[in-house]
Assembly symmetry: C2
Homo-oligomer: 258 residues x 2
């Protein structure tokens, strides 16, 4: 057994639709992911590179990379399942900022109060979670929430945890998770990232703190399952470090099974 290795890189952020024109999204730009994809494209022993990203995410420069645009977390899940079904994937670098929540419905204060009053005595918070509130009066014409409401309310529900399904989809792949926190100590960051790695059976996690990201200056700790931590200080070096570490692990797996 041997190469070339097929790689999936996720990048940017998901967009959860509120209506036909509005979305809930996050501040993931895809810049780091695009650099990682371009760096993998320089490797000889790499075959297909799938770059799964949001529509407005940064795209890699290399034309060796297949760019696949997705919108919501649900789209991302479906697309990954397809990619794993149709290809043997050797590594997944999951840098995309995936929304924890999606929109289950949109309502108004008035509608919500009416619903809650009619249903008093039941476990209302439970009912709210399970049923959502219908929003037929809320939606204006053409699938866009009316702009005349005094107090629209968006009810959210959890999305599937993408990082948690990767190992099931690809038992043999090298999986790299990402953990982004904001203004924490490096000890706390590393500890949280280790928790993510254990819980989701990742091979590595790139831990970073938005307080230490300024353009291409970007402090990143690449934490290995074996215990080692490598520190990088730019996006380019992170891309280089991840590519090398992943290729080493992929090649080691090939040696074992040959």
């Amino acid at each position: 057994m041997g190469g070339p290795a097929n790689i999936i890189i996720t990048a940017g952020g998901t967009s959860e639709p509120i209506d036909n024109v509005r979305v809930i999204t996050n501040l993931g730009t895809g810049r780091l992911g695009s650099l990682i994809a371009d760096r993998f494209a320089e490797e000889e022993n790499v075959g297909k590179i799938f770059y799964v990203c949001s529509a407005n995410s940064r795209k890699p420069d290399s034309d060796r990379v297949s760019v696949i645009s997705i919108g919501s977390t649900h789209d991302l899940k479906k697309k990954l399942e397809e990619l794993f079904r149709d290809n043997t994937i050797d590594a997944v670098i999951h840098s995309m900022a995936v929304s924890d929540y999606t929109v289950s419905s949109v309502t108004t204060a008035g509608e919500l109060v009416g619903y809650l009053e009619k249903n008093s005595g039941r476990d209302l918070s439970e009912a709210l979670v399970i049923r959502g509130i219908s929003s037929t009066d809320v939606r204006g014409e053409a699938g866009k929430i009316s702009s005349k409401l005094k107090s629209p309310i968006i009810l959210l529900s959890p999305t599937p945890k993408i990082i948690g399904m990767l190992r099931g989809l690809a038992p043999e792949a090298v999986i790299v998770g990402f953990k982004l926190l904001d203004h924490v100590t490096s000890e706390e960051l590393v500890e949280t990232a280790r928790g993510l790695m254990e819980k989701n059976d990742c091979d590595m996690v790139l831990a970073n703190d938005s307080a230490k990201i300024r353009g291409d200056k970007h402090t990143g700790y690449l934490i290995d399952r074996g215990g080692s931590i490598t520190t990088f200080d730019t996006k380019q070096k992170i891309a280089e470090g991840i590519t090398k570490a992943v290729m080493r692990k992929v090649e080691k797996k090939w040696e074992k099974t040959s």
Copy 2:
């Protein structure tokens, strides 16, 4: 009195923050606005061109254009007030997709039900609108909503209507509004756009329908206060048509006051 004319173009879409990493935004890309800015930059009788846009919006190519990034509708309002205070503005082309709503607070079904039960007998929907619900338990560490909630709820409130404040800020400027609808007849589109023009005292409105936008193919109706309608079929032609119509009106105003 005469030139050169100072121009403001707004483009892209606003982003209303939910927490430190999540936003509510819309699908405005800024592509049409960037073409309009570049087209104005080719005009001889034009001075300053301010391009007010979202961080991830398309930017004009011309280095004659000053790019100003804003986030929320509140930021947009502040920035426009500054620009009008510090400059004599001759025309505003307001193509930005401005959010109708901003986030007033984030809560959970449980918190909301508890609040409503404690306050029964009052006009709860009114209370909800005015007070919002505190969300101290909802926010996790570092200003990011906890990812472990079963059913977060986002309460929205209306944003200031930017299009409605332009005439007050710039009594003498040529103001071009934009109206985007989805899958309506051209009659309905034009009628709605005329309503927007009257209500906000615009000189012109560009009316368009997202069903008739596909890349640079873009059907746009430029409706004039005088009653004329000019139809365009690409983004480039819309940019050309708006620039010429605006410059004609600006020069006519100069003649009157000279």
